[in-house]
Symmetry: D2
Subunit: 337 residues, 4 copies
């Protein structure tokens, strides 16, 4: 049975997901799309050589009887409404991050999903589907390095533009760590503190860069995440887990080692789009397979809510300079790990 997908929002991310679902993945096809700019949507479908119904309003996609499941890749502020509508229509929905613009918005989605009685939402956090992170998690859960005590992480970007502000280091950049580190440790954040090194001369007035975010988790794990969005040298994600018995480290992206010009080295990525390119395929195939199997297992609305609550605490900590609590309500049985 081919799962019939509707895609809301045909911008860059939407087009990539449409391409994936139709041309790369198994068991699904895109039958309907929507975009405020219908001409753009039609042009995108033509470029991708895909036939699908084109609507202007995402709600039309959600309500179409032809559509089994929905991908929300529209403008961030619209995510909450479309996700709630999909839940109301009883249709599985893959919602690109952010699940909602606020923790409260995420909570509304969680409540709606619980009321519906069955998980319908997968949030587009792709790192749990990255082969490196999965291998790293396996090392931990196999007990190879003992109980985790500390994580040392970094999220580095070559450069950002003038529109990137200090808070975006949390909401746009760190948001991925906020999810994947909960998944890696199977734990929740208890508190967060943000410290600022001297700012790089490559930054601009509205951006303090780099930043270091320090977490304590419920189990007492200490996590430091360096966020450096004008690092100059490349796009670089680092994650090292220090356990009671040993240390495990996320692999560098596979690359050809060369000896040239008096240097022995491997090339590093420069474009963020290349780093998790396979994980997008894997997360969507997992969504498709899970919908067909009748049970979603990926990052949940609760995970979206947890990331949002943590992000709020990080933003508060950026401004207060203090150690801010991360106040999560108890995890509902509905979202049991």
């Amino acid at each position: 049975m081919t799962l019939k997908l509707g895609v809301i929002g045909t911008g860059a991310i939407g087009q990539e997901h449409i391409r994936r679902c139709n041309n790369v993945l198994q068991g699904a096809k895109v039958v309907a799309v929507s975009d405020i700019n219908m001409e753009g949507a039609r042009a995108a479908l033509q470029r991708l050589n895909i036939e699908a119904e084109v609507y202007q309003d995402g709600h039309q996609v959600i309500n179409s009887p032809e559509v089994d499941a929905v991908l929300v890749t529209s403008w961030d502020p619209t995510h909450e409404a479309f996700t709630l509508a999909a839940i109301a229509a009883g249709k599985p929905v893959f919602c690109e991050k952010p699940l909602a613009l606020s923790a409260e918005g995420c909570r509304r989605i969680v409540d709606a999903e619980i009321r519906h009685g069955k998980r319908l939402v997968q949030v587009g956090f792709m790192r749990p589907y990255d082969a490196g992170y999965r291998a790293l998690k396996k090392v931990i859960t196999d007990g190879d390095i003992g109980e985790p005590l500390m994580l040392h992480c970094a999220h580095r970007n070559q450069s950002v533009g003038e529109n990137y502000t200090t808070d975006m280091a949390i909401t746009n950049t760190l948001i991925h760590e906020l999810d994947v580190l909960r998944w890696l440790t199977e734990d929740d954040y208890k508190s967060v503190q943000v410290v600022f090194p001297r700012t790089t001369s490559k930054s601009h007035a509205a951006l303090k860069d780099p930043q270091i975010v320090l977490f304590e988790t419920q189990k007492g794990i200490r996590i430091d995440v360096e966020i450096f969005v004008n690092c100059a040298y490349g796009y670089d994600i680092q994650c090292e887990v220090v356990g009671e018995e040993g240390i495990a480290r996320l692999p560098e992206p596979s690359a050809i080692q060369t000896r040239k010009n008096a240097c022995l080295g491997i090339p590093l990525l420069t474009d963020w789009k290349d780093r998790f390119i396979d994980a997008y395929d894997v997360e969507l195939q997992a969504f498709i397979n899970d919908v067909k199997a009748g049970q979603l297992t990926g990052p949940s609305a609760w995970d979206g809510f947890a990331a949002s609550v943590a992000a709020d605490a990080c933003l508060k900590a950026q401004n207060s300079g203090a150690i801010e609590p991360v106040s999560m309500p108890p995890r509902p049985d509905f979202y049991a790990r």
Copy 2:
């Protein structure tokens, strides 16, 4: 349009390809299989939850009007006949190595394909579809290390059984290097010499292990390949290209680096099946896509023939201790690179 595949031979390799085509890849489905052991074939299909017609004779698969293209994964001695039959039926055929048991058999297939007038054959050499080898080739063709002058390679296996004999180092093990090194260098072998180090105590009477195979190519590139099938420590494929400007090396399979028990290291593979597991997916998807596009581009019958001619020279060199010529006829325009 879904390409309808017939699979001849439902042993381990056949079952894996059936699973791939139906469950992982896009645009094809298996509609017919054959195996001398029809019960085994039916049981395999049941395990894989696949419905397909079951025949005892591969020719029935080839001749079925329901079958668009054929995968030959049967007992080695039957490959030539099935491939010739597929060509005779005008159907694209993916033939697992060996294309035929002899260079003459490969030549018969080449001649049949040329007479047919259009490429129909893809040989199951998967290494040109391995991401590492592809990246390595790109470094070379981009000119990053200048003209290649030497290649240093190794093909190591943890251990082999009593049935593995000295010649199998060429026919079963080196055969993959014979193809991929031609592809990497875009060159043909001119001569080959085999030297034997002292044999490991872990070998047995009918197997001189390790062996070192030394090639000179038409362009004058020197290639050494260490074949060590009882190396004890793991399954390990190495390939280093020394060019006029620098050196490039095939990456190690991605793995988690750990610090544990006074060692900083990464795990190595032990099972050959894990090393190129992704490449099998890629080679078959390429076959499917190429058939649908009407133009095969993968390892050709000529490549199968070239590998077989080279293998024969290697076997001769094993026994003579001399430098043996590798006599390839000129490449037909039909198989222009």
Copy 3:
């Protein structure tokens, strides 16, 4: 001219320095030693095949007209008195850490040295003489990675005994980072904060292990140092400097890379004595050479004072959980960098 050395304290460290100066280094010889246990001192000299005068009191060594310069390797509480006495006698003195038991004690030595009018003291901080740290500093001062913004460090030990308490992580372990990181960055600490992850089950009641010490320097560099003295896997020193242009990392100790038992790796050290073994030779040869040249250049009494002040702040921070200031008076011209 052979520099005539007196060594105060013939315990393990003292014996090692005696061996170095007489048998390995150039231009000096040990002519006098002292130890409360004169029999032990004589036995040590006999084992080392060295002839020297044996005293019970270090002051006799300092005052001996045969002694040109002094090494203080006695019980920690005696360091201050012997160093002050050497200054009073106008003799160069190499004092093993700690320079004194308190910042005030270090200050007394600083003041005495300034009054003397010429540097006489070198503190036994060996890491600035380690080839790896020197190469790392050169990369920074050459401008290769731009202005340093952050340092990520770790000091890990396989295990410690029951006598090792939480404060010793600062006074015995971190003390080396306290000196070398000032040297690396050519900066002073401004504040320090200590956070505690969950304690490893391999620790004991009087030791919270691991710990993470967070510094801000005067120039705004943020430094994190993980101290983990029961890490189980080995003795491991890490130092990564993140600059505006790139990142530089302290090398792993040179070791043979092996492929064995399905692992590709290098051995890690387990004994702290092996990590900086060459640096002890280099620091003492530098002391000898500097004394003969008439100008000390190594870690100074001011550096010993600075490390002690920083250590005090770290101890305070361990207990308060707050960000504690590191209050250093202005650097006297006498100790200009």
Copy 4:
């Protein structure tokens, strides 16, 4: 007791050894030097701030009653005569490679030393004193990788001048591998073959570069050494030992790993003088210590002879293209390992 050294030849190498012995090493001092160019010799001593007797004739150094032991660092063709003269005078002699210009010349020295009845000669092969090679040998002799079966080596140089000819790849470059690989394997060569890849465009008419030299040892170990003297990218020595249980590899020279300009790498050496700089210190200190202890243990005249015999076979193989025997007479008990 300070060993009194005479140095014959005050060119670049001679000056470096003079500097080492007087300023770095223990237990020796240079009391006499000679050079055809006495003015140059005096100027060198002045630069090094060393007082010593200056002669024009090396025999005057050898015969001086002030000289205990001799270093021969003169023009290659004079090595044999000076070494024989030192043996005749009963004085220990450290002779820079080549021991003599021919195998016959080396044999004369061996015979003279045996007649003298005690080892007096150490040849200046420094690689057995390199920390990396020593660690590699220890891994082998500890049995960590089982019996060695194959060695894969490379000796690469960035570029050479117009005076460097094909044979010099053996006599000047490979000569070091010829010694150290016998030392590593505790074995002798049985046969050698030289193959030529296509020549790099960076070479010149009188130099076929690169070359690959293939050895079989008496124990049946197969060794391949790539010699590439215009490799363009750096000065690079590689040595990988494949044993029955695993593989061990010579370490890269320690260097700072950086992330910069989209590259993660370490710098490689470009100047051959930097690669074994420490080994020169170690080999001379060993010579000094051994002379004082009355028993030489370093590379012997027999080792110089063995390297010369092997080199002759390599030169023959360069020209014949055949597998040439390496005919070594039995090792005299005088030189028992």
